[in-house]
């Protein structure tokens, strides 16, 4: 018997037990891994990514080169969003907005970049409307473009998961051109993000933990 049918059997077994238990009204105690605290789990790592030489469309309608957009000396924060995303993306965008605001004068030293993973739906107008919804200030740019370009970029950052509903909750920080990227998986709070940004700004180099 191959592995596949074994797996199938064990799953059937689970279902049958479930039904039996249900029939006797016994509580079925299958639990998810313990959630002992409320704080969201985040993972921080550092990595080097080779970004593709692609063109994108900025929310102001300008056709731009990704590499050029990412070439200036500012610290770079990158996330991936789409404007019809109702649950996760608004929260990520909310954190960007709030971080930008809370940074005050330091905000000018940071380039926020949100890349659409639904580029056929997100045109400059939808992106501009979206930016306004979050009161995004100059220094926060939204990008769309050809579907292939968006996928190439997601793959370069190792965030492509096949379809947009499968998108990863992930955020990237680069202190300055040439530096490694800090990759955050999970939900990073505004305060946490600001701490990280200020550390980078202070040392002008990525910190390591």
């Amino acid at each position: 018997m191959n592995q596949h049918s074994l797996k199938l059997l064990s799953l059937r077994h689970l279902f049958i037990s479930t039904l039996l238990l249900s029939a006797f009204g016994t509580a079925l105690a299958i639990e998810t891994p313990a959630t002992t605290e409320q704080a969201p789990k985040i993972e921080r790592s550092e990595a080097t990514y080779t970004l593709p030489d692609i063109n994108l469309i900025r929310h102001d309608g300008q056709k731009v080169s990704l590499l050029k957009e990412f070439a200036d000396e500012r610290m770079l924060l990158v996330n991936f969003i789409y404007t019809s995303c109702s649950a996760i993306c608004p929260m990520m965008s909310y954190v960007f907005a709030k971080t930008q605001k809370k940074l005050g004068a330091d905000a000018a030293k940071v380039h926020f970049a949100s890349i659409s993973i639904d580029p056929e739906n997100d045109n400059p107008k939808t992106l501009t409307d979206y930016a306004q919804k979050f009161n995004g200030a100059p220094g926060w740019d939204f990008y769309t473009g050809a579907l292939e370009a968006s996928i190439a970029l997601q793959k370069a950052f190792n965030t492509f998961r096949g379809d947009k509903m499968n998108h990863a909750l992930v955020l990237f920080i680069r202190a300055k051109p040439g530096n490694a990227w800090v990759r955050y998986e999970g939900f990073v709070s505004t305060d946490h993000l600001i701490r990280e940004i200020r550390e980078h700004l202070a040392s002008n180099a990525p910190t390591s933990q």
Binding site: H4, K7, L8, S10, L11, R12, L14, F15, I16, T18, L19, S22, G25, A27, L28, A29, I30, E31, T32, P33, A34, T35, E37, Q38, A39, P40, Y82, S84, C85, S86, A87, I88, P90, M91, Y94, V95, K98, D118, P119, E120, N121, N123, K133, A146, L147, R161, G162, D163, K164, M165, N166, H167, A168, L169, F187, V188, S189, T190
Partner: protein, 559 residues
């Protein structure tokens, strides 16, 4: 007992899917919850409406905005804080990335029956939620205000805490108590009624092949659903009421479009269906869209040249039809910059589709320095035909919103040396290049909202093989690929919805999973999301090769 949840992340082959394509899916979230009986509180209509406004719009009964607090991202307010954003209209929740948003339906929270709720999402293996007591009013208050579940554990930090006052809490509770509490109309103990709609004036051959395809798929599916032996063939069988037979109901319309809505309402009143899939019309789909909205009935991906301009919640379309073609041509002219034409002459007939197409193009070209002239095909006399082609200059562009018959007539009358760039609608020739007379081949460019070449062939191979198996003709490959896509989608949707047969949930799952399955359609890429109603969003400008096939002249243009 504590188990690593990966153990249940088991790949399984689901037998009832294999009739059209073989597919491995992963059981993702299966939550089996033992439900304690709890009495549904009698709630008055006002409370439910106030609750709906909190849930859907984020507006409190005081008229103020709903405010939610999250430990991480902080405060959310108003529409963005409304429950519907994550838990969706049906209350069935969703799965976004690795974030599981649990259901909050009446049945899930306050179940009064001893029946498990099972959820399935094919995108990823997730966890199995634990059984728990049903929510009392106090427990609900504690969860919403403090983020503490009925079992005393904390909720995920992504769920905001809402400081609702007693009145708002009562209203929200009343709303949740009735949310998705009953299966939708068209769902019977052992059957699921699905309709399709056929408008008058359609090609009888197309209508016939569509119905033959649907009946074949329904028969095939039902044959593999019958569980005579009583043996379980798939874990999904363990969940009661997931073996419903599909029943196809054909709604054939008569008369003019303004009478369709009433006809459809009458059909649905006499014999309600769960959803409408596919459908065929050469004319406007707008009245049918309105009907679907009034009846809150999902109308999934009809084959129409002219969908509603602003679709309702319940209608999903492959594309914007000829309106998309108009927008793509406008985008093409924009890209041509100083090579764009100085004047555009549109030739069309005075029917709903062609007129709307021409109007859309006029609208789309606003802001570009292009003069537009409309020329309507009249009696097709010699003088009429001469008039249509009179005075055209090399700096003009000619747009033909014409069906194949008119294209043939016009090709004979067109001047041998027609100067301008000529464009034609691919949708109006059913996307079939052989419908364009050869005389036009050298000069014509098609606005082509479908895939081309090898990719197209690969995507539609499944259809070709399936038609062969059923000894059905492939008369109209694009149209038939649309029907086929729907049949697969319905299979996937109903398989994953299990017994949660709510119309709103069907729309939500279609929004989430349209791009997930294999693309067996003639479109390069189909994708929806909450609020999106047109699945394919672009087109090529294509030219004829010497052998009569088409090659893209431009990249895929998305207006």
């Amino acid at each position: 007992m504590r188990e690593p949840h990966d153990r249940y992340a088991t790949t399984l082959h689901v037998h009832n899917l294999s009739f059209l394509k073989s597919k491995s899916i992963q059981v993702a979230m299966i939550s089996l919850t033992l439900l304690n009986a709890s009495s549904v509180l009698a709630a008055n209509v006002e409370d439910i409406e106030a609750g709906r406004r909190i849930y859907q719009e984020g507006i409190l009964s005081s008229g103020q905005s709903l405010v939610g607090q999250r430990s991480g991202p902080g405060e959310v307010e108003g529409k963005i804080a409304a429950c519907i954003n994550c838990h969706r209209k049906s209350g069935m929740g969703s799965l976004e990335g690795n974030i599981e948003i649990p259901p909050v339906t009446g049945r899930f929270l306050f179940a009064t029956e001893d029946r498990p709720i099972a959820l399935l999402d094919a995108r990823a293996a997730k966890n199995i939620t634990r059984p728990r007591a049903s929510y009392s009013e106090e427990a609900l208050a504690k969860s919403i205000r403090e983020g503490i579940k009925v079992d005393g554990s904390p909720m995920d930090s992504l769920m905001p805490r809402y400081a609702l006052n007693d009145q708002d809490l009562k209203a929200l509770s009343a709303y949740l108590h009735q949310l998705s509490i009953e299966l939708s109309p068209g769902v019977k103990e052992d059957s699921l009624k699905i309709a399709t709609i056929i408008a008058p004036g359609v090609d009888i051959k197309k209508k016939t092949v569509m119905l033959e395809m649907m009946r074949a798929a329904f028969n095939q599916r039902n044959a593999s659903q019958q569980n005579i032996s009583g043996r379980m063939r798939s874990p999904i069988d363990a969940i009661p009421h997931t073996l419903r037979n599909w029943q196809l109901i054909v709604w054939e319309l008569q008369g003019t479009p303004d009478t369709w809505e009433a006809q459809l309402s009458e059909f649905n009143r006499k014999d309600p269906v769960f959803a409408v899939i596919s459908g065929l019309s050469n004319d406007t789909w707008a009245p049918i869209d309105q009907f679907c909205e009034h009846e809150q009935l999902p109308c999934v991906l009809p084959s129409t040249r002219l969908p509603a301009t602003s679709p309702g919640y319940y209608s999903l379309y492959f594309s914007k039809g000829v309106m998309l073609e108009a927008e793509v041509l406008s985008k093409h002219f924009q890209d041509l910059a100083n090579k764009a034409p100085k004047r555009l002459v549109q030739i069309y007939r005075k029917d709903n589709v062609s007129q709307s197409a021409a109007q859309s193009l006029t609208q789309a070209l606003k802001g570009q320095q292009i003069t537009i002239e409309d020329r309507i095909v009249a009696d097709q006399s010699n003088s009429d035909l001469t008039r249509l082609f009179a005075g055209l200059k090399p700096t003009d562009a000619l747009m033909l919103w014409l069906n194949p018959v008119d294209l043939i007539t016009l090709s004979k009358a067109a001047p041998k040396k027609l100067a301008p760039n000529i464009y034609a609608s691919a949708i109006m020739i059913d996307g079939q290049s052989q419908n364009i007379p050869e005389l036009w081949h050298a000069k014509l460019q098609l606005i082509y909202p479908y895939e081309l070449g090898q990719k197209r062939q690969t995507n539609t191979n499944n259809l070709t093989n399936w038609l062969k198996t059923w000894q059905l003709p492939n008369l109209d490959p694009i149209f038939q690929s649309e029907v086929f896509f729907n049949l697969l989608l319905l299979t996937d949707l109903t398989s994953q919805m299990l017994d949660n047969l709510y119309r709103d949930y069907l729309i939500e799952r279609a929004e989430d999973m349209l791009s997930w399955g294999a693309n067996v359609s003639a479109y390069p890429h189909l994708s929806l999301a909450p609020g999106q109603r047109f699945a394919s969003k672009g087109a090529y400008i294509a030219r004829f090769n010497k052998d009569g096939t088409l090659s893209p002249e431009t990249p895929w243009l998305v207006p």
